[in-house]
């Protein structure tokens, strides 16, 4: 599996995401995190993953693992439509900026987040924001759960097929149940 960026030109620098080669990796990271947070972009509600949308997986994960959720842009509406109320609504760069502040007490005011899970943002926007976090939030772990390689996350899938993606998301969910 390769560490080639999804958009060919957005190549990885010397410091680049490790590959989530199996779902257990992501699962373990989420499990180990004390205060994980989801940053869910507007595309999450557009992507079909067979019968579900990507956002539906996120809601399941957030519920099962008690992950706080920030909805960027109009993703909020999509969550609400699904009877899920995100913990915060704010622009992606705003949450990104706050995550670089070690004194920020998180969306619920209870302490800094230690893991940020990115999903559903436009590729290049996620790329740049994750670059900000890679460089300026040394204590924060980041995962991208999109099915494309995000070099600036700490962990990311490679460019994988939708089928493979679903398998992985299901596995992450399944692991929590087991």
């Amino acid at each position: 599996m390769s560490q080639d960026a999804w958009l060919t030109a957005e190549v990885a620098g010397p410091k680049k995401a490790s590959l989530i080669t199996k779902p257990e990796i992501a699962d373990a990271m989420i499990r180990r995190a004390k205060r994980p947070i989801f940053i869910v972009g507007s595309i999450a509600a557009e992507i079909d993953l067979e019968e579900k949308k990507l956002i539906d997986y996120i809601i399941l994960m957030a519920r099962r693992c008690s992950i706080q959720v920030v909805a960027t842009a109009n993703t909020n509406s999509e969550f609400l439509k699904r009877n899920f109320t995100p913990d915060a609504v704010m622009p992606a760069v705003d949450i990104g900026n706050r995550l670089t502040d070690p004194t920020w007490q998180g969306v619920d005011g209870k302490g800094p987040h230690d893991l940020a899970i990115f999903v559903g943002l436009p590729y290049q926007m996620a790329w740049t924001i994750l670059s900000g976090l890679k460089n300026f939030a040394p204590n924060l772990k980041t995962i991208s759960l999109d099915n494309v390689y995000q070099p600036n996350a700490r962990w990311s899938f490679s460019n994988i097929s939708v089928k493979n993606w679903i398998m992985n998301l299901e596995a992450i969910l399944g692991n929590r149940e087991a």
């Binding site: 410091k15 507007s42 909020n76 622009p91 706050r98 920020w104």
Partner: protein, 781 residues
């Protein structure tokens, strides 16, 4: 620079010391002494003269860095890995490096406008003389050059007077650029302050360029009723010879139209334009037509419609010659800044050049004399016309296109090259099966960059296929755009000044900048319409102005046909081309000067503080792409005007974001009482990229709030904010308590909901101050 003088040139003079030829009197401040406004503290400011003001803003709006590369490759000590807290071999840190790149981009942008202004002013002086009076608005405008007055503390009266302003701009840009050298400025905030300075210089040069051309060429002079002109592919009569001009510097296009006029050819030839030259030539002649913004270059050239292409400077595809060659369209380059490798034919006879172009003996010519270009372009177009048989056709027939699509191997390299991640490969498969709908949909969001084609492993001419699939759409591109009106009249400022400063006109929204839209241009038009309906003042310019025009409501009217061109609530004000952007910042400045009677002259900090605290202006550069967009934005920032960009805007390396949750950041000084007053995060951000048009609209409404809003004004602005948030993002915003200062600020219709929220948030009433960020110096009261 503070002592630069107004100069008077006398061709010949007799004195006691004899006869002297070509004497120039440069008279010290004399000319300016007819201007009774006292000089402020910072005429012709040096690069750190306004540093305190910048740092005041930057304390609120700290850069959030988004490195677009982990490396620096600017010198041969590198590349250097700057990740984490590593420094480069020169000692630079990642934050400083990002600010440095922003400064470099802003310098390129400001240099571009300044050089453009210089070339234009020099040309106009040659043509009209340096004593040609500046007259950007007839009797309707007394403050002819608000930015120049503000920044330089001088009051230009003639074309010649503009030269000293450009001297200053060039000097500043040179010094600013020097700061990016290895081992120069390395403090991130000092670099940001220099970015702001660059932006200020950029607005200065833009103003110079536009008032020069408006004055000399008699473009619409601050005219709200500037004519509606044609825009779009579909407006071109392809039975006539067609000239295409692309670029930003209008003299060659003007000469084309003058030549047609002088030779009774008006109406027999189509003169069409892309980018700002398109805009500016329709300001000169309403017969000229605009094709579209920057992204229309490939599709229009490949349509085969143009018989000749004339390019000047800026935002021109660098492969224009290759594209033109493929369709045997000759190209004339007219700017020293963009020679295209063509032979310099300026010294040759027109007939010889035309023969060479028409015969195809040469791909094109580089001609530095606009008048010659005028003649040659027209005569060549007329002779090319019969030669271009497949005028309406494209390179491929529809069947050939489908055959091409069938060759697709679904490797997806095209999509991996597409900046908007468009689903090209899927669309290609469908098209191969004779279903053009998906590909035609791609047309709407396609920025015409042809990176897909470049990447295609099968060399399929993807963009051509998109155009073919979208054929009908193209033909239907026929709209009306109000020609760029230029400046805002003093009287308009007087009328709206009060309502704006009190917040009762909810804001000025300026849609500006390039066409690198994330999801198609219609989004921009939708935003403009939304806010016009909400009685904001809408200003437009450049590619954004065109894009907004390329939209129709149910009745077939473009936004410019629906809304008036006045600078008033619900107005849709196309100021003009990119350089006309200075009229938008200029309008903000004029509110302080004309409405509030603050001294402008050399008084930047006070005026910026005024604008920042009182004028609810917001810039939106939805498709901002270029280095010019970077410097234009920076000019707005220094005036305290926030700018919103689309998602691609994160590539500008950093945002300037406020922290609404940091209460301490949002105190102002109350000029009346001298006390510090919490005013809430208004405006919350100075530079922010948002993800979708919905988010953008909510952000526009939010960023239009200002500390000086009256309760009535604030209630109105809150109504828009809450309403849009509910409608577009699906819920009440959770930060309302930060924007309500007094009970009276609460919109009546939403009172119950809001009061509940305020209670929950432990809200307490505060006061509305006379807001300023400037600490009065000791001694002054």
């Amino acid at each position: 620079m503070g002592t630069r003088d107004i100069s008077i040139r006398i061709k010949e003079i007799e004195t006691e010391i004899g006869q002297i030829k070509d004497i120039r009197f440069s008279v010290g401040r004399l000319a300016q002494e007819t201007w009774d406004e006292p000089q402020g503290p910072t005429p012709f400011p040096s690069i750190t003269a306004l540093r305190d003001w910048d740092l005041t803003l930057l304390k609120r709006y700290k850069p959030f860095y988004l490195p677009f590369c982990d490396l620096c490759c600017l010198c041969t000590f590198g590349k250097c890995d700057l990740t984490g807290d590593k420094k480069g071999a020169c000692g630079i840190t990642m934050p400083a490096q990002q600010s440095r790149i922003v400064l470099l981009a802003a310098c390129i942008g400001a240099a571009t406008h300044t050089s453009h202004a210089r070339e234009l002013v020099t040309h106009l002086i040659t043509e009209f003389g340096e004593d040609e009076r500046l007259d950007p608005g007839g009797l309707n405008i007394k403050v002819e050059a608000p930015i120049t007055r503000l920044v330089c503390g001088v009051k230009p009266e003639t074309l010649g007077d503009l030269e000293q302003v450009l001297d200053y701009a060039e000097q500043q840009i040179t010094s600013l650029l020097a700061c990016t050298h290895t081992g120069q400025e390395g403090n991130p905030l000092d670099l940001e302050s220099k970015v702001f300075h660059t932006g200020m210089i950029d607005h200065l040069s833009m103003e110079v360029a536009d008032i020069a051309q408006v004055s000399a060429y008699h473009l619409p002079k601050a005219d709200p009723d500037a004519p509606l002109i044609d825009i779009g592919f579909g407006t071109v009569d392809t039975t006539k010879p067609v000239i295409l001009v692309i670029g930003h510097n209008v003299p060659p296009a003007v000469e084309i139209m003058d030549y047609m006029q002088e030779n009774d050819l008006v109406g027999t030839i189509e003169v069409t334009g892309i980018c700002c030259t398109g805009i500016d030539m329709t300001r000169y002649s309403q017969k000229a037509k605009i094709i579209g913004p920057i992204s229309w270059q490939i599709r229009y050239v490949r349509s085969g419609i143009p018989d000749i292409i004339v390019v000047d400077e800026q935002c021109i595809r660098t492969d224009i010659l290759d594209e033109a060659r493929a369709l045997q369209i000759p190209v004339i380059a007219t700017s020293e800044k963009n020679c295209l490798g063509l032979p310099n034919r300026t010294g040759d006879r027109s007939d010889a050049i035309i023969d060479d172009l028409v015969s195809g003996r040469t791909d094109g010519a580089f001609i530095l004399n606009p008048e010659m270009v005028g003649e040659i372009a027209v005569r060549t177009a007329m002779r090319m016309r019969p030669k271009h048989k497949k005028k309406k056709g494209s390179i491929l027939s529809p069947d050939e296109a489908i055959e091409e699509a069938k060759r697709c191997t679904q490797c997806r390299e095209c999509r991996r090259a597409c900046p908007n991640d468009l689903h090209i490969s899927d669309a290609m498969r469908a098209f191969g099966r004779n279903d053009p709908t998906m590909l035609a949909e791609i047309y709407d969001a396609c920025v015409g960059c042809i990176k897909c084609e470049q990447a295609c492993t099968q060399d399929i001419p993807i963009h051509s296929l998109i155009i073919i699939a979208a054929g009908e759409k193209l033909k239907n591109e026929a709209f009306r755009l109000r020609a760029g009106r230029g400046a805002i009249q003093d009287i308009e400022i007087r009328q709206v000044g009060g309502p704006i400063v009190l917040g009762e006109i909810p804001g000025i929204v300026a849609f500006v900048g390039c066409a690198n839209y994330p999801g198609g241009g219609h989004e921009l038009a939708e935003m403009a319409i939304e806010f016009a309906n909400r009685r904001f003042i809408i200003c437009t310019s450049g590619c954004a102005a065109m894009t907004i025009g390329m939209y129709r409501d149910e009745d077939g009217r473009s936004p410019y046909e629906i809304y008036p061109g006045n600078f008033e609530a619900g107005g849709m004000v196309n100021v003009g081309s990119c350089v006309s952007n200075a009229h938008i910042s200029g309008a903000a400045v004029k509110i302080a000067s004309i409405f509030a009677r603050r001294n402008l002259r050399g008084n930047y900090e006070e005026i910026a503080d005024y604008v920042y605290n009182r004028v609810g202006a917001v810039g939106v550069a939805w498709g901002a792409m270029s280095q010019k967009a970077a410097s234009i934005a920076a000019g707005f920032w220094r005036l305290g005007i926030p700018v919103i960009v689309g998602p691609h805007g994160t590539k500008y390396r950093r945002m300037l974001l406020g922290r609404s949750d940091h209460d301490d950041d949002w105190y102002v000084n109350d000029a009346r009482t001298g006390e510090q007053v919490y005013v809430g995060p208004v405006p919350e951000h100075l530079f922010i990229a948002v993800e979708t048009k919905e988010e953008a609209m909510v952000m526009i409404a939010k960023l239009s709030m200002r500390p000086n809003d009256t309760s009535r004004g604030r209630a109105l602005k809150l109504t828009h904010y809450i309403d849009l948030h509910r409608r577009l993002l699906g819920s009440m915003p959770t930060d309302i308590h930060r924007f309500v200062r007094l009970e009276a600020d609460i919109p009546i219709t939403m009172k119950e909901d809001i009061v509940a929220i305020l209670k929950e948030k432990d809200w307490r009433e505060t006061v509305i101050p006379d807001p300023t960020l400037i600490q009065k110096k000791e001694g002054s009261s």
